[in-house]
Symmetry: C2
Subunit: 448 residues, 2 copies
């Protein structure tokens, strides 16, 4: 038999699962601080849910098939269509703004490349029903707070932010035909990654004059509201969008994350999708792909779900983020944890007494292990059982002495050593009615 | 566009997600008390992983297809084959006993019936590398502790337990041909659910004498070790297995869960699979299918993974368990929670100050909401914003007064009212450097 997962799929052994849980737990903890509620949908959906949004060409990247009832179905490649379907189905009843998040596993049949997986976990955070730029500011501050909660600082990452409306106003002001905008967006999107001459050629091919080409190629250097205003402030429309952007920046300052913001007109993202402020979080050293991307998509719910509600959201995957955290040394303390307490019986300790002590501690939410074999529990030397405990990564051993007393012994560095040698009298402990007073000193010593 | 999930698949709106999270969080919390570590595998696996264990006939119940690389694949219908694959791949290196758990979503193309879903979440708890009956006792005590942690008591559920080795010894003692055992097992499995005459006919068809039929039909009434010993104690083999079962029962007593145990020889479970003690948890009122099932499967890893290690485990799904919890009123307090604190600005409160206070509180892991629109934050009457907070289910409002003070007001019954009217001075709060001393009284009032 094959001892391997499918190519592009991951086995999560406890060590790898601990990293995944560290990331997803942090996602949940931070997003909840902002009052968001978790939802989920099916990992398998009707195929048309995706082709309706992205066209038939997406099918080539999907895990799609016909189910036994003859339905065309696909493993979800993204969460937004499910989100749109669910919001649309209860659009009237839902309190606005809707503030929801999800942590789905997503699937794409990508061509196999180094580091490219065919599944990943992705945090999706969305707000529906609010047009004000304060919602945009709150959304970005969530993404930034997550990265900070994971230990990253301004030296590690920043946010590149643009506004599709501002960009449109600039192109309109430069009198570029709307039919040419997609070509211009495509050039802007690659401005930092391709030689200036290539960009210039493509703009010329699109039919822009040399002066207009120069102006567009200069967008990358305009990295503040003031810089854009100095050149294009004469346009009332541009000026109005700059005012909005300045308000956005002021909200981010008040939310304590202003230093992460970089206005960057070369951030474009999905053409047919976004309608307002768009953003991506990037590794400051430029080693990795974007950590996160999102923005305002005010027309998508109408197209996908048939309800006309403004919306904005972002997605953050576990793979690039995990690579960045690892490269920056932020995962070194993350590991599958051993038990809080390992029980080491004395030669004369009856097995039922060991089990009773285990049960009492577990009842207080302390994780407890011991040698899972009655004969060994009775006969294996205490020293050998203490070594079992150490190998298993237990924080403490509870070493039974004579007359039903037991001593708490710290085993790993991060375990707090009790101020004095802690001897507990366990003689009165009962599994069916744990004695809180008898347990208390032990729980205190364990830092509970 | 269709506004529905596929038949048999669930949308989890926040209210339904809260129930799912209540169950899965409790699973994780309790299983960790026993020192188990979480793992996961891919939801999509090679088809042969399942046909190898269950034969080609399982394909009719699977979501299987050919992927774009021509591989025969299937959505996982159960976790054990993945578990076996992962353990086998690192069998040498893993510390024994392996104590792992997982909470996978599983998929079966079941014929649509009332309440039958095509996906569910299932806790899988497994121990590998220990033959002693103490491991069997620990395993059952985990399943029982989970149900207790969810609020169920001895009045709500109990465990039916048998031992395949004991049953085999009884059949051997009755001199029933081993070739007839599968037929006898099939009758035992349905003993409680089909009329005695039907069972009798089937045993006669299998070629059992009338006296032997009577003996087998009497198995259901033998519900204690002593009762079985009284009839079959003369067999040394039966007697040895009864000793083991008595030891198992004693361990469960010491672990504080002995009262849940009922010896029941009609619990059979998978024929080709289990080799020792097997168990199922049942609703005491007999309304629902089994909540949970498992046991010892000492030969499965050899067959599936090519490593000869003893093993035992159980699976517990979220669907039947959820139905039982609901029927017994144990989900009434479970709901998607509103924010801890809703900020209600005074007419003169500057918006940046509201955002700064939000940011400071969120930095202390307090969840905070406010009206997500700067204009409304400035102009909407405090009374109306307080109503927003109540509708959203916030626990407290922090109502801004003049001169940067704010009052904490409890909004829901379960919120602790501060002993005195709590007025906080927020004038010195800064988002980039929250002042722990300034926050402290508020955190104390919030029960942090």
């Amino acid at each position: 038999m094959s001892h391997k997962a499918l190519p592009g799929f991951r086995d999560f052994y406890p060590a790898e699962y601990a990293v995944r849980a560290h990331i997803t737990d942090t996602w949940r903890r931070v997003v909840r601080r902002f009052g968001f509620m978790e939802y989920d949908g099916p990992p398998l959906e009707p195929l048309e849910l995706y082709t309706q949004k992205s066209g038939e060409e997406i099918v080539g990247q999907l895990y799609n098939f016909e189910d036994k009832g003859g339905r065309a179905v696909a493993l979800r490649p993204e969460m937004t269509p499910t989100f749109a379907r669910m919001v649309a189905a209860r659009a009237q009843a839902l309190r606005k703004p809707v503030r929801w998040f999800a942590v789905p596993q997503l699937f794409r049949y990508e061509r196999q490349q180094k580091g490219r997986l065919r599944e990943h976990f992705q945090l999706n955070v969305d707000i529906v029903g609010e047009t004000d730029v304060l919602a945009d500011a709150e959304l970005l501050s969530i993404a930034i707070d997550i990265c900070r909660a994971l230990g990253l600082t301004r030296a590690d990452f920043f946010a590149r932010v643009s506004d599709r409306r501002l960009l449109n106003a600039l192109l309109a002001h430069l009198q570029i035909d709307e039919a040419k905008w997609p070509a211009v967006y495509a050039v802007l999107d690659k401005l930092e990654r391709q030689p200036r001459e290539v960009s210039l050629d493509k703009l010329r091919e699109a039919g822009l004059s040399d002066a207009t080409c120069d102006a567009v190629l200069g967008f990358g250097a305009l990295q503040t509201v003031d810089a854009i205003r100095a050149v294009y402030g004469a346009s009332a429309e541009v000026s109005a969008h700059l005012d909005t952007f300045a308000e956005y920046a002021a909200h981010l300052d008040a939310l304590g994350v202003g230093e992460y913001l970089r206005l960057d007109l070369t951030i474009v993202r999905g053409l047919a999708y976004y309608t307002g402020i768009v953003f991506e979080l990037f590794d400051a050293q430029g080693e990795f792909r974007a950590i996160c991307g999102g923005g305002r998509y005010d027309r998508l719910l109408l197209g996908l779900g048939g309800v006309d509600l403004p919306a904005l959201g972002f997605g953050m995957g576990d793979v690039v983020l995990g690579e960045l955290l690892k490269a920056r040394g932020k995962l070194e303390a993350v590991a599958a944890e051993g038990a809080d307490v390992w029980l080491v019986p004395h030669e004369g300790t009856p097995v039922p007494h060991v089990l009773t002590v285990a049960s009492c501690l577990r009842g207080a939410d302390v994780s407890v292990e011991y040698v899972l074999n009655a004969e060994k529990l009775r006969t294996r030397k205490s020293g050998a059982q203490l070594k079992d405990a150490q190998k298993a990564g237990a924080r403490y051993a509870l070493v039974f002495r004579e007359s039903h007393t037991a001593e708490l012994v710290p085993l790993i560095e991060s375990a707090l050593a009790p101020a004095d040698r802690l001897l507990v009298d366990t003689s009165g402990w009962r599994a069916d009615a744990p004695d809180a007073a008898a347990l208390a000193p032990l729980l205190t010593a364990l830092g509970r």
